[in-house]
């Protein structure tokens, strides 16, 4: 809504005013004008020029009354302002006292102008009383002057806010921020200090740092322990992917951590020639044995066990797999079983052989005697020859058995330092005729090896049996090789042929007594078992390798120092 105010300067005057104007002394008018101007100046505005308020208007308008009305409004406004200021001051004071930080306002001389309760409790001594007006360095720091490292000094000097992240005072830790306090014209007249008690935070941080250090040290120790384990360790995540494996696992498999990380455990094992993924997953591998081929081609038998790292479905948790190389253990076990079998057989053989030898001797003797008769028919002579032949064969078997039994008697061994290369050379010369008859080449490759403490005759027996075995395996037109080499504190003798090889299913049995693949009448099946027994008694080992159809390789390993 709009309205136009009335401002009619030509309106007729009130009769009383007209009469007053006519009769008043000019001095009175001047006095009123003077007071009006004085009041206007008190109001903060300019005095009026005479033309702005002539005598008539002066009396008619009641300027003093108008100004009085304005003063009323000014006073009312001031009262309201004071009321608001008072409320604001009370609010600020309440905030000042209730805040969780200590606040202090100091002047340029470092005197405390104002401080809140929190700051007094934090820094002022008990019983210090009213600290207003005292020097802050004396009350807060117990010093006789402001320190050069005091942030308030810095703020007063530079006019900039300063934050000190950690200060120790009175057994506590604080963060201090100082801000310049300026007057209306921007001049620095003091400093506002805000103090935050970070003692608890610092204690927590120190404890956390200490704990972290402890955990890191423990983690480092654990990592060192895991790395030093003789067993291989694989850790997989919930998806069965390998996340880490230790030094022993790397050595066992021949793969580095970078080659393996991220692969599924099942795929990795299947890649090593172990069981397929399906088998592993079906068996779930809480424990079991695996046969693997490491990266360098070595076959190993591994004992595996696994444990779930956390609760839940075993198929979806993190797991730790422990690998133990039991290849050597298995060999020793087989060797031991073999030795036990042989020892038992040896005892049996000795007894049986002696009992059989006597009747066989009689059969052979009388058979020969009868063949000297002059009135024998051709049929009779032939039959007698067969009897003598078979008796001789029986005697050979018994001799083999007796040898087999005899070699297990330590009292009959003659231990001495022997050159195995020399022994092999002698045996090869002995078998040259047999080899040439079959058109088989015998190659010898002798490495520089130390002398062995062994029974020479028994070593000859081993070499003879193994070479004969190789030659008979090749049959005709082939090759047999003999190699010797030094391997640490052992000597290796490798006898290889290019015969038909040994099928995997019969390989475990070839060292068993009387086991033979030869036709009936050819061999007793005791040759390799005798070799195994002799080698075992010399604390050595004998192994066979080679693929079916690609020949066989027999490796005899003998310690240099027989004990």
């Amino acid at each position: 809504m709009r309205r136009t105010a009335k401002n009619n300067k030509n309106a007729p005057l009130v009769p009383k005013a007209a009469a007053a104007r006519r009769g008043l002394d000019k001095r009175y008018i001047a006095y009123v004008r003077d007071k009006v101007n004085q009041l206007l100046q008190v109001m903060g505005t300019s005095a009026l020029r005479p033309e702005e308020l002539d005598d008539g208007a002066l009396l008619e308008l009641d300027p003093i009354g108008i100004i009085a009305g304005s003063f009323e409004q000014i006073l009312e406004h001031l009262r309201e302002t004071n009321r608001s200021l008072s409320i604001a001051r009370d609010e600020l004071q309440a905030i000042f006292d209730a805040t969780g930080v200590g606040i202090s306002i100091i002047d340029e001389d470092f005197r405390i102008l104002k401080s809140n309760e929190k700051l007094r409790r934090l820094l002022a001594a008990d019983g210090a009383g009213d600290i207003t007006g005292r020097f802050c360095y004396e009350v807060y720091c117990g010093k006789e002057g402001p320190g050069l490292d005091c942030p308030a000094v810095d703020t007063l000097a530079t006019g900039r806010s300063v934050i000190v992240r950690e200060v120790s005072k009175k057994g506590k830790h604080f963060q201090i921020a100082t801000t310049p306090f300026k007057d209306g014209e921007g001049n620095i007249i003091g400093v506002i200090e805000v103090l935050m008690d970070i003692s608890d935070l610092k204690t927590a941080k120190d404890a956390e740092r200490e704990q972290r250090g402890f955990y890191l040290a423990e983690k480092s120790k654990l990592a060192a322990v895991i790395e030093s384990l003789s067993e291989g360790l694989f850790v997989t995540d919930a998806s069965d992917r390998i996340v880490s494996f230790n030094r022993a696992a790397r050595k066992m498999t021949g793969y580095s951590e970078s080659e393996v990380q991220g692969l599924r455990f099942q795929e990795f094992i299947a890649g090593l020639g172990g069981p397929s993924c399906a088998v592993i997953e079906e068996r779930d591998f809480k424990s079991g044995e695996l046969s693997i081929t490491s990266k360098d081609g070595r076959h190993r038998i591994i004992s595996v066990s696994s444990v779930l790292l956390r609760d839940g479905d075993a198929r979806h948790g993190e797991k730790v797999f422990t690998f133990r190389d039991i290849t050597e253990e298995k060999h020793l076990q087989e060797s031991y079983c073999r030795t036990e079998k042989l020892a038992a057989l040896g005892q049996l053989s000795a007894g049986v052989a002696h009992e059989l030898n006597t009747p066989l001797g009689s059969i052979l003797g009388y058979a020969r005697l009868l063949t000297k008769g002059k009135n024998l028919s051709p049929d009779q002579r032939e039959r007698l020859d067969i009897i003598a032949e078979q008796a001789k064969r029986g005697s050979a078997i018994i001799t083999g058995l007796l040898n087999f039994a005899r070699r297990s008697d330590p009292a009959l061994r003659e231990m001495a330092l022997i050159d195995i290369n020399d022994v092999i050379g002698g045996v090869v010369r002995m078998l040259t005729t047999e080899a040439e008859k079959r058109n088989i080449t015998v190659l010898m490759e002798f490495g520089g090896i130390p002398p062995l403490m062994a029974d020479r005759r028994q070593m000859e027996q081993v070499i003879i049996n193994m070479l004969l075995n190789a030659i008979q395996s090749v049959r005709k037109n082939g090759q047999v090789s003999v190699r010797t080499s030094s391997a640490g504190d052992s000597v290796k003798i490798m006898i290889a042929d290019n015969g038909p090889g040994i099928p995997p299913d019969i390989r475990p049995r070839i060292f068993d007594p009387f086991f033979t693949t030869k036709p009936v009448g050819e061999g007793t099946g005791l040759g390799l078992s005798i070799c195994a027994g002799i080698v075992s008694e010399h604390n050595g080992s004998i192994d066979v390798d080679g693929e079916s159809g690609k020949g066989a390789v027999f490796t005899v390993t003998l310690p240099v120092n027989h004990s």
């Binding site: 002539d54 108008i66 304005s70 409004q73």
Partner: protein, 82 residues
């Protein structure tokens, strides 16, 4: 909030009584309306001094003042402080 009533005060060309006195008188008359924001006063004057004296006085009384210059005169709007 409803639009305040606008009291227009045209004192173009007037010298006496002064613009200040006229404005003060009007502010006194409508002080209640000014205080509670129901009234605003718009003074039109061509007297340049008034653009200083009226705002000084009005602000001392706690009002807010806006001054606008047009081609030939000044508009001084007095209203309550928000």
């Amino acid at each position: 909030m409803p639009t305040p009533e606008l009291i227009e005060l045209n004192i173009l060309g007037q010298v006496c009584p002064s613009c200040l006195m006229v404005a003060l008188n009007e502010m006194n008359t409508h002080r209640e309306g000014l205080r509670n924001g129901k009234v605003e006063i718009l003074v039109r004057t061509d007297h340049r001094d008034a653009t200083r004296t009226i705002p000084d006085s009005a602000r001392a009384m706690g009002y807010e003042v806006d001054v606008r210059k047009t081609a030939s005169y000044y508009e001084i709007r007095v209203h309550c402080a928000k």
